[in-house]
């Protein structure tokens, strides 16, 4: 396995990150700005700062084909940044929420995006040609608490959402005039706006940190604060699911997860590194860490001489320097994203976290 590509951008937490389709531009949500980095040789260099929010930016997403960037913030606003020769031009979106916006993602069709919020609703936003602005429709029922995470189904109509009320839900966000009528799936056949296609929770009712549809869209995985991941296989519309599999782990909770094909899930969180889960509708299990701990040049680069040992004991009162974690990330990983894919499988994925590092991993 190739060594991971590590970019230590700064010493601040990264709330969210997103790569452009050509993987040469990187958008980072840092504090109240969205920072744009461009690949220069082997490193990423800051090229632009998108300033428009006046509170912490919570999430950012680049649409792969149009290049539009959407960002949302605790100031209750979402902005769409349109690329133009003079730079990025922001457009305010009418979200109509009175709590922080927490999470935003473009639909695969790029005609809509969804914003989760602390206002117990999801704003599904689309562009209204005649008024020339972005408007939103609210998914409200039966959400009882803050939305923490969202994920789109490949058909751009179904939307999965995780919430602090411990439920992962699948909604229809069908908007007439914007979406084509979707093919019936195992989640539902007729899908008017705000149809609840599924509502799931795990045994101990932990907050949901991350949701994700499998590449085919026929399975849903979510990670919760009870250190578990749960995979749901729906059977048919209005029917109980074929299988709901919960894997409790001995690890700390996972903050983010992505699918690699239909039979592997990669999840990372408070343990500061990514882990693999493998399985299918019959069962899932944790198979190990993505990171190999025996990589050369990690941790043991300091000379282990007697002189050094006594020096350490004199300076710090101990012989070993144990302030470094053995993992590449030195703090919680909060976001995983596929970086390079071929078909349904992920070749490389990127991770960011509280330590200000962007790491690109080869699977």
């Amino acid at each position: 396995m190739a060594a991971p590509e590590v970019h230590h951008l700064f010493h601040n937490p990264i709330a969210d990150h997103s790569f452009s389709a050509d993987r040469r531009t990187l958008a980072i949500a840092r504090d109240t700005t969205v920072e744009l980095y461009a690949k220069a040789g082997n490193t990423f260099k800051l090229i632009d700062e998108l300033k428009g929010h006046d509170k912490t930016v919570t999430s950012v997403d680049i649409a792969p084909s149009s290049g539009r960037i959407v960002s949302c913030s605790q100031d209750r606003n979402a902005l769409v940044w349109e690329p133009s020769p003079q730079g990025y031009k922001p457009t305010l979106v009418l979200l109509r929420i009175n709590r922080a916006a927490t999470f935003v993602r473009w639909s695969p069709s790029e005609t809509k995006f969804a914003v989760g919020s602390g206002d117990r609703l999801i704003a599904v936003c689309y562009f209204e040609e005649e008024n020339d602005w972005w408007v939103s429709k609210h998914l409200k029922k039966p959400i009882r608490s803050t939305i923490t995470t969202l994920a789109w189904h490949p058909n751009s109509v179904l939307l999965a959402a995780g919430s602090t009320d411990a439920h992962a839900r699948v909604f229809s966000s069908f908007i007439k005039g914007v979406d084509a009528r979707p093919e019936p799936t195992a989640w539902g056949e007729r899908l008017p706006f705000n149809t609840v296609c599924g509502e799931y929770m795990n045994n101990s009712a932990g907050w949901i940190h991350s949701v994700s549809f499998s590449p085919s869209g026929d399975a849903l995985a979510f990670a919760a604060h009870d250190s578990s991941i749960t995979v749901v296989y729906p059977s048919a519309p209005e029917q109980p699911p074929k299988a709901v599999l919960t894997i409790n782990t001995q690890l700390l909770p996972f903050m983010s997860l992505i699918w690699n094909g239909e039979a592997e899930i990669i999840a990372a969180g408070y343990d500061c590194e990514a882990f693999r889960f493998q399985g299918g509708a019959e069962g899932w299990q944790l198979t190990g860490a993505v990171e190999t701990k025996s990589r050369p040049g990690l941790g043991d680069q300091r000379e282990e001489s007697a002189l050094n040992m006594f020096k350490q004991m004199d300076l710090k009162g101990k012989a070993k320097d144990d302030t470094q974690l053995k993992t590449v990330h030195q703090n919680t990983v909060t976001m995983l994203r596929p970086f390079e894919t071929s078909g349904a499988s992920v070749k490389k994925f990127s991770s960011t976290g509280v330590d200000g590092r962007v790491v690109i991993w080869t699977v």
Binding site: R120, K140, R144, S145, D165, A166, H167, M201, N203, S204, A205, G206, W207, A224, H225, D226, S227, S228, N248, T249, Q250, L251, L252, P253
Partner: protein, 205 residues
């Protein structure tokens, strides 16, 4: 005083910040019962707990400590009808824990963890451990007149934990040391995830 000045004085004050706007929103979490978010748990009465306790004691007398522990963990008392039932359940689990030798702990826990649904079982055990610690510490604190006699270790069961002399003399300290050594062993087997789950879980013993 002109109307305009009165108006600005009212709007510039910070009084509006103290308005609890959640109380005005019919959908907010302060206006619905949070327990409705979860499926309800069946209520367990004192008689049910007594039945379980006698079953467990029978297993203990027969020398099947693992079976006794398993049957405690398979039937956690989540929704006890009254405080007495909850306390009785805790007492039963503590009795089982105190009767198991230190050397048998880890193999037994590994066995339970490897069995189907075992991770859940150890989570339940962890819940009882924390509850036991809360009970013993508040009892030894002396402020609340709890019933420390309930936690008295069995004279036969504690001898193997005599890491420090005189541990059995002070009953609550002895019970606590049993719970702490179990806690250590459970974390060894079920990991830190187990502690996280106990803190997250809405089902309390």
């Amino acid at each position: 005083m002109s109307i305009i000045r009165e108006h600005t004085a009212a709007t510039l004050s910070d009084a509006w910040r103290t308005i609890n706007i959640d109380a005005l929103d019919p959908d907010s979490s302060s206006n619905f019962d949070v327990s409705t978010l979860h499926p309800p748990q069946p209520e367990i009465t004192e008689a049910d707990v007594r039945q379980l306790a006698s079953q467990v004691r029978q297993l203990l007398r027969g020398g099947d400590a693992e079976g006794a522990l398993r049957s405690c963990l398979e039937a956690p008392v989540y929704n006890a009808a009254d405080a007495l039932a909850a306390e009785l359940a805790l007492q039963t689990v503590t009795e089982v824990l105190q009767s198991i030798k230190a050397s048998e702990m880890t193999p037994m826990l590994r066995g339970i963890y490897a069995a189907p649904g075992g991770s859940e079982g150890l989570d339940v055990l962890m819940k009882y451990l924390y509850k036991g610690m809360a009970a013993t510490s508040s009892a030894s604190g002396g402020s609340a007149p709890r019933t420390p006699t309930r936690m008295t270790p069995q004279p036969t069961g504690l001898s193997q934990f005599s890491g420090r002399p005189g541990a059995s003399a002070e009953s609550t300290g002895g019970a606590m040391s049993v719970l702490l050594s179990w806690h250590e062993k459970v974390v060894e087997v079920a990991g830190l995830g187990c502690i996280g789950r106990v803190m997250t879980d809405w089902r309390r013993v």
